[in-house]
């Protein structure tokens, strides 16, 4: 199963649609794919669409933090949208909600990207 589908918006901006159950058995592959895309396609602003993420363990959160760090190093940004309530609850438990820009829809997140 493919857990990441990347859609380029315009130069340096992309949306990554994540799906499935993001645990340690898949998080390495997801991180590698996204880090690779950030370098090869020179992405600075990335939106993670988590509409189809049913489950996320701390391995998934570590990937999100690694992406945020990489994009901040490039003076870019990481935004997250469409988080399911069960996953959002874990963001709250782990106290990471304030670390990320989280939006209800992809459209809302796209609107906040620099023009």
């Amino acid at each position: 199963m493919e857990h990441v589908k990347l859609k380029n918006l315009s130069a340096g901006k992309a949306v990554a649609a994540l799906s499935g159950r993001l645990d340690v058995s898949v998080s390495g592959e997801v991180e590698e794919k996204l880090m690779d895309a950030i370098e090869k396609e020179n992405i600075s602003h990335l939106i993670l669409n988590m509409e189809n993420v049913e489950y996320m363990s701390s391995s998934g959160f570590r990937v999100a933090i690694a992406l945020l760090r990489r994009l901040k190093d490039k003076n870019g940004s990481l935004k997250i949208c469409c988080v399911r309530p069960a996953v959002k609850r874990i963001f709250d438990v782990i106290e990471l909600t304030s670390l990320f820009e989280i939006y209800n829809s992809e459209e809302e997140a796209v609107k906040t990207l620099p023009t």
Binding site: D23, V24, Y55, S57, I65, K72, I90, L99
Partner: protein, 143 residues
């Protein structure tokens, strides 16, 4: 009282199987969705820690021959999870709380798994006796 037990290989590819086993067992026992989600995630984190840390420096042959034994027990409104392994001693109680600033600075990676287990479960304990590690997770069910 209900008790089930299953052995898993020491491999991150086993984590989805750990989750399926815990989820289907607790579902059969009538545990509520929210409690079930908490216990499944805590078991995922505990098993992940054993594989990555207790067996991180262990050679391939031993990783292949050893297993992680997971026992689930429900008595009245308490679910107890016991994970047994023979990897290197790894006491979760000594893992410091995550520090977002250190994580963002790239100076630390992780610490969230143990924090999650502590937050989602009523109690977590660790014992090491005669080369066997036991991670014990307790959850008082909300309903």
């Amino acid at each position: 009282m209900f008790v089930v037990r299953h052995n898993f290989q020491v491999d991150v590819k086993e984590i989805p199987k750990v989750k399926s086993f815990v989820e289907s067992t607790l579902s059969n026992w009538g545990v509520s969705r929210e409690d079930l989600d908490d216990i499944v995630l805590a078991c995922d984190e505990a098993a992940t820690n054993i594989i990555l840390h207790a067996y991180g420096p262990v050679d391939e042959a031993r990783r292949k021959s050893d297993t992680i034994e997971l026992t689930l027990r429900k008595k009245r409104n308490v679910v107890e999870v016991i994970l047994r392994d023979r990897g290197i001693s790894f006491d979760m109680a000594k893992v410091p709380l995550p520090d977002i600033r250190l994580n963002l600075a790239g100076k630390r990676r992780g610490g969230f798994g143990v924090h999650l287990m502590r937050s989602l479960m009523s109690r977590i304990r660790y014992q090491c006796r005669d080369g066997e590690n036991r991670t014990i997770l307790l959850k008082r069910l909300s309903s």
